[in-house]
């Protein structure tokens, strides 16, 4: 099977989740996938794809993240490689790019895939639905198939191997759109990519009380998130808001501080491996979804955790 991986770059390198997608692709039927990387990167970092099972990297250098251009790159790469299975992670960027390519090629697309496809009888994938409350097994019947995998469903571990890097050119058409301005918080850990997330809710009482939470996040090397009311009140920026209507995270460890655990918040965190809840109310619904819980005041508990984390 010819397999192509659409990857995402950050700071000139593959995102961790994209390395997972490459690993996933290399395990579908054992054949080495080709990788498409669009954006800005340095060549040595791109060759890293070989460590995760890729044979070749097609690199299209683009200064700006324009969805129309990115999807044309993907279509051109599919045409060039003759790929039949296209894999990416699940992210807002990949959603937009994969959707445009699948729409053009009249191909089936399934998102939030949680396991390798079962190819014993047709091509069957398992994915998470209803914001993590159930799974579906679905047969994909089109010749070309698009899969978007959930973060953290495969381990990205380097296994050795080399990939060649080729510059990849095509005729780009922004379709009448132009990016006027890009604002990006720099030097911050990416929330959807993070291995550890420390998140605060209304129980944190106000933006001026965030320091103990930031201290713990720093000690653990964690990204920070928040509940929706917190971003609605402008205590924290909108892109930190986790949940059904916000960012969906899937870290190894999610620490919720003063968050009640409303179903819409849980929808964004229930793919986390381990959930810790700190809440002064023993009846808070979040404890039902947690692996570890502390009933107590966040302002007393957080400094203790930070101290212990620093001692690690």
């Amino acid at each position: 099977m010819s397999i192509l991986i659409f990857t995402e770059l950050a700071d000139g390198k593959f995102k961790k989740s994209s390395l997972e997608a490459i690993s996933y692709g290399s395990k579908i039927d054992g054949s080495a996938p080709v990788v498409l990387a669009v954006g800005t990167a340095d060549e040595t970092s791109l060759a890293e794809a070989g460590q995760y099972g890729a044979s070749k990297v097609l690199f299209s250098s683009q200064e700006q993240e324009n969805i129309m251009v990115y999807s044309q790159a993907l279509l051109k790469a599919i045409e060039t490689t003759g790929a039949k299975v296209i894999v990416s992670v699940k992210s807002a960027l990949a959603d937009a790019v994969m959707a445009r390519a699948a729409g053009t090629l009249k191909a089936a697309l399934i998102g939030n895939v949680t396991e390798l496809p079962d190819t014993t009888n047709g091509f069957v994938v398992k994915n998470s639905i209803f914001s993590g409350k159930a799974f579906a097994k679905t047969e994909m019947k089109s010749e070309v198939k698009f899969l978007q995998i959930k973060k953290n469903v495969v381990e990205a571990s380097p296994e050795g191997g080399n990939a060649t890097v080729e510059n990849f050119n095509f005729a780009a058409d922004a379709m009448g759109s132009s990016i006027i301005e890009t604002q990006k918080a720099s030097g911050q850990l990416s929330l959807p990519e993070a291995d550890i997330v420390v998140s605060g809710g209304r129980g944190m009482k106000g933006p001026e009380h965030w320091q103990p939470l930031l201290d713990l996040a720093q000690a653990l090397g964690a990204a920070t998130g928040c509940s929706k009311p917190v971003s609605d009140l402008d205590w924290r920026p909108h892109h930190e808001h986790v949940g059904q209507t916000g960012v969906k995270v899937a870290p190894n460890l999610y620490i919720a501080c003063g968050i009640s655990g409303a179903i819409q918040h849980l929808a964004g965190v229930n793919a986390s491996k381990v959930i810790v809840v700190i809440n002064k109310d023993p009846e808070a619904p979040f404890f039902k979804a947690a692996d570890y819980g502390i009933v107590g005041d966040v302002f007393e508990v957080l400094p203790k955790l930070t101290e212990a984390a620093k001692a690690l």
Binding site: A99, G103, S142, I179, L253, G293, I294, V295, K304
Partner: protein, 244 residues
Amino acid sequence: MKILVCISNVPDTTARIAFEDNNTKFSKNGVQYIIGAYDDYALARAVELKETHGAQVTVLNVGLADSEPQIRKALAIGADDAVRVDAEPTDSYFVATQIAAYAEGKGFDLILMGRETTDYNSGVVHGMVAAMLGLPSFSPVMELTVEGSKAIISKEIEGGKQKIETAIPAVMGCQEPIAEWKIPNMRGIMAARTKPLQVIPAVGSALTGIINYELPPAKGACKMIPAEEAGTLIKLLQIEAKVL
């Protein structure tokens, strides 16, 4: 201006998820249905644009007759007319095909959708529709203004946002804070009863087939740590849970 708003009919987020017929069918029993949470934002922005710029707002749903209360609600909120493509919305490609087939040649300036449905969380129908119609697409869009034949949008990207100018027609997947959610008032509800709702047949067929559904395994008990010994949690996370 002509605006098409596509709404999904999805189980309320608090609905209990269960399956029937040997786990091959979602159990609608006792489930409350709502307009997709993000689709509500798309609709609200369309109605605001109608108020400020003047627009004909059409709502479209791909669904069976049980979607009609939600379609009427969208009309009560301020859409002018509605279309229901009479079919079970089986997969993203199928839904996108219906929307593109309806919209083709009708001269919509904007096709607004939610960022994603809250049942399958795919976030792809807008991109597919745009590709089928040869239009640009943007998602998730947090601000949208229209000036003549151009739209200025602000779109969320990882860790920040992008401001984009684009030619219209265009397709957008919307999310807050693009508009304030609207609640229908009495006058709107009365007016909605007589607004046109056209039912049309579907075209083409789906590219996927459900084999079965599964519920996740039950979560184990939560281990409680006394607040005074909070520091021991860090050791447990390192040694027992192995996440540090």
